[in-house]
């Protein structure tokens, strides 16, 4: 350290600066602008909360039967549903904060949670 002309204080400052910057990467680059979590509701009540960056396959037992939910690469969708018109499955992949997919007959819904939602409200 002497060779570089750094004092003890300099080394401490550099070490702390390194820790600070590394911490900032962890804090701000951990997830991207998409929603980080999805909330699954059954009968209007929270049933599961999933991290979108870990792949999951979820089976939700609704009143009609099993709704299948798939999480891949920061996105989530219904893959199968016992309902008649499969609106929830046709909604496709959700990834933006505030997006929702709802299966009214089977009383299951999905929404993306985000601190900065892409949508404030959605009308059909």
């Amino acid at each position: 350290m002497r060779r570089w002309g750094l004092t003890r204080g300099d080394s401490v400052v550099l070490l702390l600066a390194f820790i600070l910057v590394a911490g900032l990467y962890v804090k701000y680059w951990h997830s991207d602008g998409h929603g980080a979590e999805t909330l699954v509701l059954l009968d209007g009540k929270p049933w599961a909360r999933l991290n979108l960056f870990h792949d999951h396959d979820l089976v939700v037992p609704g009143p009609l039967g099993e709704s299948h939910i798939q999480v891949r690469d920061g996105q989530v969708r219904f893959t199968a549903s016992p309902c008649a018109n499969k609106l929830c499955v046709h909604t496709g992949w959700l990834k933006q904060g505030g997006e929702v997919a709802i299966c009214l007959p089977n009383r299951v819904s999905l929404q993306i949670l985000a601190s900065d939602p892409r949508f404030d409200a959605i009308n059909f």
């Binding site: 750094l6 204080g9 400052v13 550099l14 910057v21 804090k27 601190s115």
Partner: protein, 185 residues
């Protein structure tokens, strides 16, 4: 002011040696600031911060108070000369300067409490650069672009600030050692 006619009209303001030093160093800092503003930058908010070398020199040689004067006057006068006074660029620059002056003040106090752990120019420069970027970034985020996408840039900007801080600290140390080897006037 050498003409005797004006002497009755103008009241001479007493200036001290410190005032002259502040004026001289500020002029130097402004020159560097303006020269630097002509350099193209890959990212907004990233500049080598060479004018801060002058602030650090003054801090190491004459103390915090004079460094604060030089830094803040440089931002004010520099922006008037470049034509960015009261524009967003000016406020960003001013926020950065205020933060870095405050951070340097804290470092000076800490150094006084723990003299054996006092950082040299490089440590001070890194602290100043990180504080500058922090002040600038949070003002930009809070006032101009309050979008969470901007937060993704923060770690990147802070890494660059730390690297550029090391560079300006190294420059400061080089200039300081030359200055210190000169006979004191």
């Amino acid at each position: 002011m050498s003409q005797p006619i004006t002497e009755s009209m103008s009241q001479r303001i007493k200036t001290t040696r410190d005032d002259h030093l502040i004026a001289g160093f500020t002029a130097l800092a402004i020159t560097i600031h303006i020269a630097e503003s002509a350099l193209p930058s890959p990212l907004p908010g990233i500049k080598p911060g060479l004018a801060n070398v002058v602030t650090l020199l003054v801090l190491c040689r004459y103390g915090w108070q004079m460094a604060a004067w030089v830094s803040l006057l440089r931002v004010l006068v520099g922006s008037i000369l470049i034509g960015t006074f009261l524009s967003p660029a000016f406020f960003l620059s001013a926020a950065g300067a205020l933060f870095s002056v405050a951070a340097l003040g804290i470092m000076v106090v800490l150094s006084r409490m723990l003299p054996s752990w006092a950082p040299g120019p490089i440590g001070l420069a890194v602290v100043a650069a990180l504080a500058h970027m922090t002040g600038q970034f949070w003002l930009a985020y809070g006032l101009f672009v309050p979008h969470s996408g901007l937060l993704g840039l923060y770690p990147l900007l802070m890494s660059l600030a730390a690297l550029l801080g090391i560079l300006s600290g190294w420059l400061t140390r080089t200039v300081l050692s030359r200055l210190n080897s000169l006979p004191e006037k």
